[in-house]
Symmetry: C2
Subunit: 322 residues, 2 copies
């Protein structure tokens, strides 16, 4: 089996020089801009690790791993337009550097390339992989729409929020793992279990992200703490707080949503969160989901030794403070 | 074999009630808006007619025909954003009615659905169909970028213009025909010939479109004549005129590009076109491409009787004055 470092090297050897086409430069320069700084490559690594865990040939999975990464970056390009985000991984977002029209078209062509890279699979693997991929793509777009819809609503239920982050974030991690399993020829039950592992891990990951946004150490997280509070984001923290709050606390939380003094808004909201024990409650929820993820991984009928890389990565994701 | 009317009925029976998902409505309402008014359905009909011509089962091709139509409408939604177009088939463009963000996301999900409909094909057909489809999608996006690039350039060669309309318009007609042939199990040579037929027919179609924009009858074409001239569009008419013009005529054509009086701008430009015999030259070019298209169709090794539907449609497209 391969270490994470070895998989990274295999992947980079094949794709770090991937430059797409030269022309038309107006189409491919924006693609090169976002793809030249691909971040942590969690999704392609999950795909390769899953393939490796199930005894598959990771070389046969490389193109699909890249497809997942290209797809992920397509979603970032279009989401950044919709969210009017200016920065992505410390660089100007594509639509800021190249304009909205080029951002739209670059995203479109990246989605098409994602499919093209998937299509290098053998015919017997192609159909089941595409089925997972199509469903995932559609769910991610539904999740993005839910996220946009929730911004305009006063209240969102915990169930709605969890469904939204499942679609917007988790399903792609889960799909990467399942596609790796399909390429390796794993049986149906194993595919579903590794998907479930990814889904729960992704939820736990996103909820931890929300926790860090409010309770993290700004110097480690790399951004100002309290952004979600400032934006009145209906995260699980706020939803849980509104559910548990007294009438007076509820009124105060809603008043704070219109507070103009940013430092006061953050500090007062956190004070109410602390009164309601929100940090502990949400940490427990993240821990519960993490345990469910591990349970799915444990249930897969292969030797534990083959699961150690994925398990290590899962713990690394759980224990992060950034 | 089926008549065009029968194919239309088969298609409508299956898809005229296609409503996509109810929720999230913010995502699917825009999709329903554009898909409820799908226009002439030329592309899906070409796919079905090609499948039928090669003796395939058109029922097996219906989902792919719909995929092509969903894909085509996705390109319209995103192109209308990029071109800041306000109307589409007499209705408000998606981004006008629902906003740019919903237009982007609706287009994205339509592209994903196009792939999902293709994926109902049997495994042995899926790979070759996707290969054609992916390449076509990428070329269409490259064509759209060329079109945008050409707007900012002073001059464009005839070769560049023809490549742009080939990518932006023709390849999808050609791909529809080729996918129909693949589903029918036609041999490689026949697939290529029917593709070539569609490519040339599409070029002839687009050039005729450009002719009608300048020399058509406004009441039949359904829009104000001279739009391309007003927008300084580098169509084959203008490109050919600039190539054939004397120094004085060239200078005048460039001066007219900055003329503010719209009626004068159109009339004077057409006067120079007439001096240079542009209408005839371009009609000849369209006719030449149409003849090449028919030649490809004629070369396909199946009985002529099976080609009559496609040939009729080709003539109908050639002889239109709207």
């Amino acid at each position: 089996m391969y270490s994470l470092e070895e998989l990274n090297k295999l992947y980079d050897n094949k794709f770090s020089g991937e430059n797409f086409k030269a022309e038309p430069a107006g189409l491919y320069d924006p693609v090169r801009h976002i793809m030249s700084n691909t971040g942590k490559k969690i999704r392609p690594m999950l795909l390769l690790m899953s393939c490796d865990m199930f005894g598959g040939d990771v070389h046969q999975a490389l193109d699909s791993a890249f497809a997942i990464e290209v797809f992920h970056n397509f979603t970032l390009v279009h989401d950044d337009i919709m969210d009017a985000a200016e920065l992505r991984r410390g660089n100007p977002a594509v639509h800021i550097k190249f304009g909205v029209n080029k951002g739209i078209l670059a995203g479109d062509v990246m989605l098409s390339y994602a499919y093209q890279y998937l299509c290098s699979l053998q015919a017997d693997k192609l159909a089941p992989v595409l089925q997972v991929f199509n469903q995932t793509a559609i769910e991610i777009m539904e999740g993005q729409q839910m996220d946009i819809d929730f911004e305009k609503r006063t209240e969102v239920t915990a169930g709605e929020y969890l469904k939204m982050i499942e679609y917007k974030t988790s399903v792609l991690l889960a799909a990467a793992l399942k596609i790796g399993a399909i390429i390796a020829g794993a049986d149906e039950q194993s595919r579903d279990l590794v998907y479930s592992f990814g889904l729960k891990l992704g939820l736990s990951f996103q909820i931890t992200d929300d926790l860090l946004d409010t309770f993290g150490d700004g110097s480690k997280v790399g951004k100002k703490i309290g952004g979600d509070i400032l934006n009145n984001k209906k995260t699980l923290l706020l939803i849980t707080a509104l559910n548990k709050a007294s009438h007076a606390q509820r009124d105060q939380l809603f008043l704070l949503m219109n507070e103009q003094n940013e430092d006061k808004k953050i500090a007062e909201t956190i004070r109410i969160f602390d009164q309601l024990n929100i940090r502990n409650l949400i940490e427990n929820k993240a821990e519960e989901l993490f345990a469910e993820a591990l349970q799915s991984l444990d249930s897969i009928q292969i030797p534990d030794s083959q699961k150690s890389s994925l398990k290590d990565l899962a713990y690394k994701i759980r224990n992060r403070d950034y």
